[in-house]
């Protein structure tokens, strides 16, 4: 079955609102990573977080490894944040056993 479940599948926000994206995984993870895929398809690493909370700009990643869940918080969303956010679970070190969720599609409207 799917090792990584993301929710919601899609989300529509008005510019300036905050977004909370969830990621649940079915087995022990050494690290959770978040990626952003632009509508054109290119992929960008956002945050990598083994546990606890990490911030970068308007993004906050929280990983609770024992509870097999993580989240990505986007504050003050902008239209350019629109795209797909992918969560990936790493089970070993060095990207061994690296599993992706199906993503959350975010649309930010004016």
């Amino acid at each position: 079955g799917q090792q990584v479940q993301q929710s919601p599948a899609s989300l529509v926000l008005q510019e300036g609102e905050n977004a909370e994206l969830q990621c649940n995984f079915s087995s022990t993870a050494t690290r959770l990573q978040w990626f952003y895929q632009r509508p054109g398809g290119s992929l960008v690493s956002l945050l990598s977080n083994p546990s606890g909370t990490k911030h970068t700009g308007r993004l906050t990643s929280t990983t609770v490894t024992k509870e097999r869940r993580g989240s990505l918080h986007i504050s003050s969303s902008q239209i350019t944040d629109s795209g797909t956010y992918l969560c990936a679970m790493e089970r070993g070190t060095g990207y061994q056993n690296f599993y992706f969720g199906k993503g959350t599609s975010l649309t930010v409207i004016p």
Partner: protein
């Protein structure tokens, strides 16, 4: 600025043909990867190479083979393509165990 380069951008071929995709990174990373993204946008890691050694091979069919001449290059060869191989193939690189991967623009393969 693109630092992971992939060629070709698109490739259309027929069942049974052999194809080869190229990937080059100019970031000085020591690890490179190939991913497959299917029509449902699900991304799966296929291979990772660290210092010319294969690290992981995630139940990929044997008709797929990665080829590396040095740490800056990782090509992907598919012998005798099948319809289910139609997908976007993404190449990426990073430092071993690093937090960030850098992705190429992808190669879209269509198998008729």
């Amino acid at each position: 600025e693109t630092a992971v380069f992939q060629t070709p951008n698109y490739h259309v071929t027929q069942v049974g043909n052999e194809v080869s995709f190229n990937c080059k990174q100019t970031l000085g990373h020591d690890t490179m990867y190939w991913y497959k993204q299917d029509s449902k946008k699900l991304l799966k890691i296929m291979f990772s190479y660290n210092n010319k050694q294969l690290i992981v091979n995630e139940t990929v069919p044997r008709r797929f083979s990665p080829q590396s001449s040095d740490k800056a290059h990782l090509n992907l060869r598919i012998k005798s393509v099948e319809p289910e191989d139609s997908a976007v193939y993404l190449c990426a690189s990073s430092y071993w165990g690093g937090d960030e991967q850098y992705f190429g623009p992808g190669t879209r393969l269509t198998v008729l």
